[in-house]
Each structure stands twice: as C-alpha cells, then as structure tokens.
Symmetry: C2
Subunit: 153 residues, 2 copies
C-alpha cells in the first residue's frame, strides 16, 4: 500500500529530500555513456569551455534529481508517471564533490475529470548544492492514484 496518494500533496508545501555527493568518476562515467562532450569528460579540456572546469552533463543532474525524489517520496507513493516537463533550467554547473539535495514545492493539484481514480500534481523540483544554490529547476505534472476513488463514482 502506498503511503502518499494524490490527496497528500498540499498546495504550497515545501520539502527537502536526501543528499548525495557526486564523484568525478560518476560524472565522467555518465558522460562517456550519454554525453561525451569535453566539458563533461576531461578537466583540462573543460577549462577551455564556458563551464570553466569539469561539470556533470545536464541530463546527469536530472537523473540524480530523479533518484533523490524517488527515494524521497515517489517510491512510497501511488505515482502513475508523468507526461513530461514544462520547463527545465540548468542554472549552475554540478562539480565533482558537490553534495546535492532536492527541494519539492507543490504548485497545484487538480483532479482528473476523465479518470476519477487519478489526480495531477504540479511540482517545482529544484536540485540544490551544498552552498544552497539551485543548480537545476524544473516544473512538471505527475499523476497519482487517489486515496478513495470509490467516493467519486
């Protein structure tokens, strides 16, 4: 039985989840597989790029944020997936040794008209580093099962 249903997300609520330290090996390993640009692979080459030094692929940062929110609440929820991302900003580089947490803000909740057993929750998720800087910001809807859909039938 999930712990968190659609009804458990309160508009305006803010929570922080986890922390995870990113290593150079992880940054280079992800980049070698999915985003082998010099700024994600090699310190020397990265210094000559706009990032000014080795930094994680933006997609790696997103994947790390996903893991933080999965462990934070998604795996204990009635999550039914997400249609996509409304907006995603890579605001600052993620460097080797950074300690990252996820901040979740509930922007809006909306029951599904066509599917009474489901509801949509619109979140802002931020990936925050050890200095309190937001490095990634995204806004998106996630679908959740409802706690008591039978009352609506």
């Amino acid at each position: 039985m999930p712990r968190f249903y659609y009804e458990d997300f309160e508009q305006g609520s803010v929570e922080m989840f986890g922390s995870r330290t990113v290593t150079r090996e992880e940054i280079v390993g992800f980049a070698a597989e999915f985003d082998p640009q010099p700024m994600h692979l090699d310190e020397q080459a990265a210094r000559r790029t706009p990032l000014g030094g080795l930094a994680a692929s933006g997609w790696h940062s997103c994947a790390i944020m996903m893991r933080l929110i999965a462990d934070g609440f998604i795996l204990e929820s009635s999550c039914m997936g997400s249609p996509g991302i409304e907006e995603l900003k890579w605001l600052k580089p993620v460097r080797p040794g950074d300690r990252l947490s996820a901040r979740r803000t509930v922007l809006e909740t909306r029951a599904s008209k066509s599917r009474p057993a489901m509801g949509f929750v619109r979140f802002r998720f931020e990936l925050v580093n050890q200095n309190g800087e937001t490095v990634v910001e995204q806004t998106n809807f996630i679908m959740f099962g409802r706690r008591a859909p039978e009352v609506l039938r």
Copy 2:
C-alpha cells in the same frame, strides 16, 4: 576545428541521426541507478502499471537522445552548452529492443546581442522508434560559437 558553427543551422531544416537499439539490461541498469520505480525495473510489476509493461525511465530516453545528437552533430560543432529545456514530452514508452533515432528540426536562429562570438539555435528534437513513432519530443536552445565573429566587431 569544429565542422558546424552557428551559421550552419538553417531554419526549417530537418535531419535524422543514428540509430541505437535499447536492451532490457540497459533499461533496468539505468533505472536501478536513477529511477527505481517498478515500471522501469521488473516486467511482472510493470504489467500492473499504466505503462502496461517494462519501459525505460523518461530520463533514460532523454540521455539516449542526447547521445544520438552528440554523435550526430554536437561533438563536431562549436556547441557552448544549453540553458535548459523549454518543453519535454514523454509521448510513448520506450521498450526493450526498440531501435531509436533522433530527428532534429531547426526552429529558429538568433545572434547574441551581448556576445558577438555566440549565437542561439532553437531546436525541436524528437526521439523516434522503429515504427516511426515519436516517443520523446523536446524544444530547447543551444548556444554555438560563430564562424566569423570578427566581422561583427
């Protein structure tokens, strides 16, 4: 020397890049690391979810698309990074055995006012499967170095 600069992206042009077959092992491996929801990890459990069977994490699909466009043109370009994603849609599940390609459409090009050596290109990227179905669609700006910034000074 890069092969593709800001000037080489023509508004309205469409190109396809690569193909890559996704294995069950890759799907489960990515999920175990970044998105350990049952629908991405286990066939039996996945059948009872809205996806109706094992499917890749949406972030895995994005990472695969990144690799296809990296090999397709980014690694040979004067790419200076991207500020983020305007919109990202996960339209259909990515299944084990799917053969994926990336479609690139140049939506708009815009010289930078503040930095004459740089320009912005707005793309639509689509991840397309072996049946011609678009499974992921995203719109975003990428910054590129210009071929001949000196003429602008």
